[in-house]
């Protein structure tokens, strides 16, 4: 229930932002809240799980991590593209994670996908094993193993007590 | 309401009552009840004779569609009186006859209903002064005749005969209608009498001759004139009373009526003279010539009717010359032809009616009408023989019967006309009496055949087995009344001439001052003149020909079957059916691709054609806005994506490329300052693509187009032309800047409609109605998708296909 309330606030905020009034008004926020109630009513059955929003700072950290990763990985891809002669050995490898729960798994998978040279192709049925395609398998393997602990920690800081 | 209207309506009213009440009446009674109608009408009409004889006419107007000058105008004069007396008189006799002729098992209510319809229609024809109402009744006679011919519709021949008669007579009627419309457009009135009185004003009109021809077409088809006569023999499939009534005494004479009625209008034209006389004579000859070869008595009578109708027609043609010449002492003489026509019209009805009834009796009692199986019936059917003999001799033009009188007058008229030198008669005229004479010889021959082959000679044994006997008295009374008239008219022709024919002559020659002059004195003996010599020749030559009939009859086989008019008709029918089928099938292939190419070709030809014909192309870059490089690239992206769709072999690729197009169009909308459009286009494009993908589950992948190079090339050319047409017209339209757009009004949207998004205020307010309906469209589509998915034909549902 609490999570949903937060979500509602979030929608109201979103609303306020979307309306783009010159100065934010409380009435706009309220109407956003009403809109949120509507949406939540339609959607509430999708939300069996809890929703944590109070770890904003951790979240920001995580987001920054995301940004950093995309920057690095993009430039490494571009480097590959612009290299006159392609010298890569693509391949698929597996990685087993300790994270559990859909949000954690998803966040990690996204992070891994943003990691230079790797894209998560499959998640095992249990959600514990990732099958990762690597642009250059040797290099990526190393890189993933190096940074994965860092990722898992950043995620857990947001998701766990 | 006047009597004339009542006369027309009574048969219809009774006809309408029959289907309602017939179940409550005993079957026998229907006929007797129906008989009351013509009988009472006949008696009523006789009361008009004295007044009509004084050249009174009776005219009444009843409004039907006054807004378009369509009114019910009855007009009763001498000409209509003759016909109406025939219609009701012969009608009475025929109904009396039919009561005994038709078996109780027949659906008598149908029969009498049709018969009364016909009677009413016929009376309507002769009593109508209004062209369109006349036409209405005219077609109704065709319709009722159709129904009567098809009375035994389980017989194939009946249906064929009915179809033929209806097709030919209604077609003629339609031609006549066009003629009537032309008369109206020339004269501004639908009233025959008014047209007659204003004839000078229209006879120079360019449409006058076409109108004449079209009206004649109607008359000729109805009166079975060559070459339209072919329906009449086939119409003999009708019950014999019908043949006696419609197809000899009345309906076929409607054409005669029309010609007589329109003689004051068209009579002065050479076309009229030659068409009516020529076609009449040709019909006269052809009918009599062909009658001889018939073996079915009824068919023989049918051809004889054709021939006699030709005779009457030609007489009216000859009489029309008097109209051309105008009133003078010299021209009076030519009116006698018309007089003879009317006279013979009545005579023919008497003897031909009697003959048909005779044949009906033979058929009824003996069971066949085939002269090859008949013979020697005189002792068995003595009364019937009497009818046959008198009727035939009258028809052959022998004294002391009425046919003799009119035939003599006919010869006289043909001879007189040769002395004229108008309408190139001086060179061609001599043919007229010759044809008349030759035709009369054949007439004599077939009259002998009727009597000789049926009543003389040896009786065939198989007929005797049936134990034939004379007909019941009820079937004999009507023909005896008729042959009584045959003799009676011969004895007192001038009574008829004075009271009946003279007023009718006044109708044909309204401009001639004295009707007395128009009425010759008819006498049986007028000296040993040329006419009589011709008759004597007829008897001698005809007798000889009859005697040697077997010797020369094979000449009929000279004309192969497939060159006869009948087979020509059949050929035309089947040819037009086949040709139309082939033609239609050739382009109506059912192949959608073909249909599209027709549409596109018409589009290109018509639009581009008109565009260039009218020299509409104007174009300049003056008012065009600038093009940035990125826009140019986008244009090329669109072009490449579009062209690539043509070559792709995968459905997904084509849908994806269509998506590229859609997104590019959306971006164009961005560039062209259309935010709402861009948004909508983006969403719709994506949803459409998703729809494609969802539906692909049920659809096959693309296959290479297995079309020939030629087809591909043609399609390519068509496509390029279509695109080019849109482009050139589009360029010209851009260049066209004459008007200020109404859109500027919407720029005040905030004040008017309280919104700042102009497009949205248009959609939601100014043109909200469009939006409302567009929502409905969307809803229908959604519901429709649901319906056609859920509603599947059951296994058992047979697909009925053509």
């Amino acid at each position: 229930m609490f999570g949903q309330f937060l979500l509602n606030l979030f929608i109201a905020l979103l609303w306020l932002l979307l309306v783009d009034a010159p100065t934010p008004e409380i009435t706009t926020f309220f109407s956003g809240f009403v809109v949120g109630i509507g949406i939540l009513y339609v959607m509430h059955r999708f939300f069996g799980t809890r929703f944590y929003l109070n770890r904003v700072i951790k979240l920001i950290n995580l987001i920054l991590l995301f940004i950093k990763e995309i920057l690095i990985s993009s430039f490494s891809v571009m480097k590959q593209i612009l290299t006159p002669k392609l010298n890569i050995t693509p391949g698929i490898f597996t990685y087993k994670t300790n994270l559990e729960g859909e949000w954690e798994v998803t966040a990690l998978a996204l992070l891994l996908t943003l990691t230079p040279g790797s894209v998560v192709m499959e998640v095992s049925e249990k959600g514990d094993v990732f099958y990762i395609h690597a642009m250059d398998i040797e290099q990526s393997k190393e890189e993933v193993i190096r940074s994965i602990g860092k990722y898992e920690k950043a995620i857990m800081e947001v998701t766990r007590e | 309401m006047t009597f004339e209207l009542a006369i027309i309506l009574l048969p219809f009213i009774v006809a309408a009552c029959i289907p309602i009440f017939y179940r409550r009446l005993p079957k026998k009674v229907i006929g007797w009840v129906v008989l009351v109608v013509p009988l009472s009408l006949f008696l009523l009409l006789t009361t008009y004779i004295p007044r009509i004889a004084k050249n009174q006419t009776f005219s009444n107007n009843y409004e039907w569609i006054p807004s378009f000058n369509i009114n019910f105008t009855t007009y009763l004069d001498g000409l209509s009186l003759i016909f109406s007396l025939l219609i009701t008189g012969v009608g009475s006799l025929v109904i009396l006859y039919s009561i005994f002729y038709l078996s109780k098992k027949e659906s008598l209510h149908h029969f009498y209903c049709y018969l009364l319809l016909f009677m009413g229609a016929m009376l309507g024809v002769v009593f109508s002064d209004h062209l369109l109402v006349l036409y209405a009744f005219w077609e109704l006679t065709s319709v009722s005749s159709f129904l009567l011919i098809a009375f035994w519709h389980h017989r194939k021949a009946s249906r064929a005969g009915a179809r033929k008669s209806m097709t030919i007579t209604v077609s003629g009627g339609i031609a006549m209608l066009v003629g009537f419309l032309m008369l109206y457009s020339m004269s501004g009135t639908f009233s025959i009498q008014e047209i007659i009185s204003n004839i000078a004003g229209i006879s120079e009109h360019a449409l006058f001759i076409p109108a004449l021809v079209l009206v004649l077409l109607g008359a000729f088809t109805k009166s079975a004139q060559f070459p339209f006569h072919i329906w009449l023999p086939d119409a003999m499939e009708a019950p014999t009373p019908v043949s006696a009534y419609l197809h000899s005494a009345t309906m076929v004479k409607a054409g005669i009526y029309i010609v007589a009625r329109f003689t004051p209008i068209f009579g002065g034209e050479m076309t009229w003279f030659w068409a009516v006389t020529g076609v009449g004579l040709l019909t006269l000859f052809w009918g009599s010539f062909n009658a001889v070869k018939q073996v079915d008595l009824k068919a023989l009578l049918a051809f004889s009717t054709v021939s006699q109708l030709g005779l009457i027609m030609s007489l009216l043609g000859l009489g029309s010359i008097a109209v051309y010449l105008g009133y003078s002492q010299d021209s009076i003489i030519y009116t006698q032809a018309a007089f003879a026509a009317l006279f013979h019209l009545i005579n023919h009805s008497t003897f031909k009616g009697a003959l048909f009834m005779m044949v009906g009796i033979v058929d009824h009692e003996i069971g066949t009408r085939d002269i090859r199986r008949l013979g020697g019936l005189m002792p068995i059917l003595p009364f019937t023989f009497t009818v046959a003999l008198i009727g035939s001799l009258s028809m052959a033009g022998m004294p002391p019967f009425n046919g003799f009188l009119s035939k003599e007058m006919f010869f006289a008229a043909t001879l007189k006309i040769t002395q004229l030198d108008v309408f190139s008669i001086d060179s061609l005229g001599v043919v007229i009496p010759v044809i008349a004479w030759v035709a009369s010889i054949f007439t004599f021959v077939y009259c002998l055949i009727i009597v000789g082959k049926t009543f003389f000679g040896k009786i065939k044994p198989d007929i005797l087995d049936k134990n034939p006997h004379e007909a019941p008295i009820g079937m004999l009374i009507p023909p005896f009344i008729l042959i009584g008239l045959v003799v009676g008219i011969f004895v007192f022709p001038n009574l008829l001439g004075h009271y009946i024919l003279q007023p009718a002559m006044a109708s044909i020659y309204p401009t001639f001052p004295s009707t007395e002059e128009l009425t010759p004195h008819i006498s049986a003996w007028h000296g040993l003149n040329m006419e009589l010599w011709m008759t004597i020749g007829v008897v001698i030559l005809g007798g000889t020909l009859y005697y040697f009939l077997k010797r020369w009859k094979p000449i009929y086989r000279w004309i192969p079957q497939r060159f006869t008019l009948n087979s020509l008709y059949e050929t035309i029918i089947s040819f037009s059916e086949n040709v139309s089928e082939n033609l239609t099938k050739r382009y109506m292939t059912g192949n959608l691709t073909h249909y599209f190419s027709y549409i596109y070709m018409v589009f290109v030809i018509v639009v581009a054609g008109i565009f260039f014909l009218t020299d509409s192309f104007e174009w300049s870059l003056m008012s065009n806005s600038s093009v940035e490089s990125f826009e140019l690239i986008l244009v090329f992206v669109v072009i490449f994506a579009a062209v690539a769709i043509l070559f792709t072999t995968s459905r997904i690729a084509s849908v994806l490329l269509n998506g590229v197009l859609g997104y590019s169009v959306a971006f164009f909308f961005v560039i062209f300052r259309a935010p709402d459009l861009a948004l909508t286009q983006l969403v719709v494009e994506s949803v459409t693509t998703a729809l494609f993908l969802i539906c692909f589950k049920f659809l096959p992948d693309l296959t290479p187009e297995r079309t020939s190079k030629r087809v591909k090339f043609t399609n390519g050319v068509i496509s390029i032309l279509v695109g080019a047409t849109v482009t050139i017209v589009g360029l010209a339209v851009i260049n066209y800047e004459k008007f200020e757009t109404i859109s500027t009004y919407f720029e005040d949207a905030y004040n008017l409609a309280g919104g700042k998004n102009i497009v949205n205020t248009i959609l939601g307010d100014f043109r909200a109605f469009d939006t409302m309906l567009e929502v409905v469209v969307l809803f229908i589509a959604g519901l429709g998708v649901y319906t056609i998915i859920k509603l599947k034909a059951k296994k058992g549902d047979a697909d009925i296909e053509n």
Binding site: - | I633, A678, L682, L693, I694
Partner: protein
């Protein structure tokens, strides 16, 4: 000058789209085309942003978000189609 640079950027994005079009047309595999279309959509987002600046209007900013959403939905739809032949499954399919 600013406008010229932005026009250059816009042209660059268009060039990218044109290049991607090659991938859409040529494939060879279905996922190749899908990726390329997705990327075209994403590039269009930038293009719309630049046009918005050039036209000095906020009217198209919704389009940016929408395009992002649609490109995403589209890619999901395509990948499901490629993977399973069905976009909307029933339970027990799969």
């Amino acid at each position: 000058m600013k406008e010229t640079i932005m026009l250059v950027a816009l042209t660059l994005f268009m060039i990218a789209i044109a290049i991607l079009l090659y991938r859409v047309i040529m494939g060879p595999s279905m996922p190749d085309r899908a990726i390329a279309l997705d990327t075209i959509g994403v590039n269009l987002i930038s293009a719309i942003a630049i046009v918005s600046i050039l036209l000095n209007t906020k009217a198209f900013l919704e389009a940016i978000l929408i395009l992002g959403i649609l490109a995403f939905i589209g890619t999901i739809a395509f990948s499901k189609y490629i993977e399973r032949g069905v976009i909307v499954e029933r339970k027990g399919d799969n």
